[in-house]
Symmetry: C2
């Protein structure tokens, strides 16, 4: 299921992957320390030490103390956009997005514990929720731009850019919403509900125009 996006997207180089691993190690350390001690009691020095980097290195990866708690796995958005750009013209737009998200789902389950921890940390620090929310909206808008470009690039029979109205923004936002609902569904009962299944179920509903479910 994950083959398509992984083979059509050019894999990042070793250097890029090492940078990403460092960035993830820093934000993971930040979230774990904040869950224990509270955001306001966790210094850049403490985060850096826990992640095995210097404070100077910290600021190569994050422009502020607060960003380390908010920006965990912010490479996912860019990977999803990269997958959409590489999606074959024959896919429906909804399937192009679905496949791009599916390629990330394995990772989601591994990261579930850390994200639940981050969610607790943010609930105690409203100014970080605001930052997270703004980052989320920026991500959603960036996906909408990528989708509009992909619609043009894969448009049959004309070179003219299309007029899509609210469609690209809607598709991007609804896809994020479907992902969120699938995630919440699994967090509510992790023993019973499998994220991949819930996600696919959501996209089947979307593809069928959200019709009344049949049993």
């Amino acid at each position: 299921m994950h083959d398509v996006p992984k083979t059509t997207t050019s894999a990042p180089g070793l250097r890029e992957r090492k940078k990403q691993a460092t960035r993830n190690a820093i934000s993971e350390a930040a979230v774990r320390l904040a869950a224990e001690h509270g955001v306001e009691n966790v210094t850049v020095e403490a985060i850096s030490e826990a992640a095995g980097v210097s404070p100077r290195t910290f600021f190569n990866y994050f422009s502020s103390h607060d960003d380390a708690f908010v920006m965990i796995n912010d490479e996912i958005g860019e990977r999803i956009r990269e997958s959409v750009r590489a999606a074959p013209a024959g896919l429906t737009p909804l399937d192009a997005v679905r496949e791009a998200f599916v390629a990330e789902l394995d990772g989601f389950e591994d990261r579930q514990e850390l994200w639940a921890l981050q969610s607790k940390v943010l609930q105690r620090s409203p100014h970080l929720i605001q930052r997270g929310l703004n980052a989320h909206v920026a991500d959603e808008r960036a996906l909408a731009v990528t989708l509009a470009e992909w619609l043009d690039a894969t448009r049959p029979g004309t070179e003219r850019p299309g007029e899509y109205g609210i469609y690209p923004r809607l598709l991007a936002a609804v896809s994020h919403t479907a992902m969120r609902i699938a995630f919440e569904h699994c967090c509510a009962d992790p023993e019973e509900n499998v994220l991949t299944d819930a996600f696919q179920e959501a996209f089947v509903h979307l593809a069928h125009g959200l019709q009344r479910p049949t049993e």
Copy 2:
């Protein structure tokens, strides 16, 4: 277009409407004062005076100072749920939600200026964003519960409650998302974009399974 929900939903009594008007006057006063002076400089006394009520009355309507800035027009969620409960069994679930939202759209345009002001106020007070976000999620979940009940009540041929998986939560969340995107689309260019049109466009896309738009 607005006739269906207004005639099928029982109108609230005069007393209820007067209470709602007072509540709206208080939160409008709160938002306007905060936009000018900042949330932290606006007291319950100042809000009450501007709204023409006593501070004691304020606390009959809002359980805290902060709620007055966040909870503007929070009766809309309940009215939407009331419309869904009253929706005829022959409607698709998506149309039941669409008609419930449409009944509120006139009001949305009147309130656009106040909501834009509220949005500015919240951006400057992250703890209020968190409150607003939690209220929004609670609203979305309440709509999902109402939808599940309506699906059961209008289910042909059986008394058994249905198993809907993530469908009610997805439908509720996606409908809210469509409303948000239509609203953002109009705020981006209020001269050009009409909220009702953008909203209907969004729901046509949803009903058609978010297919690639044709021109």
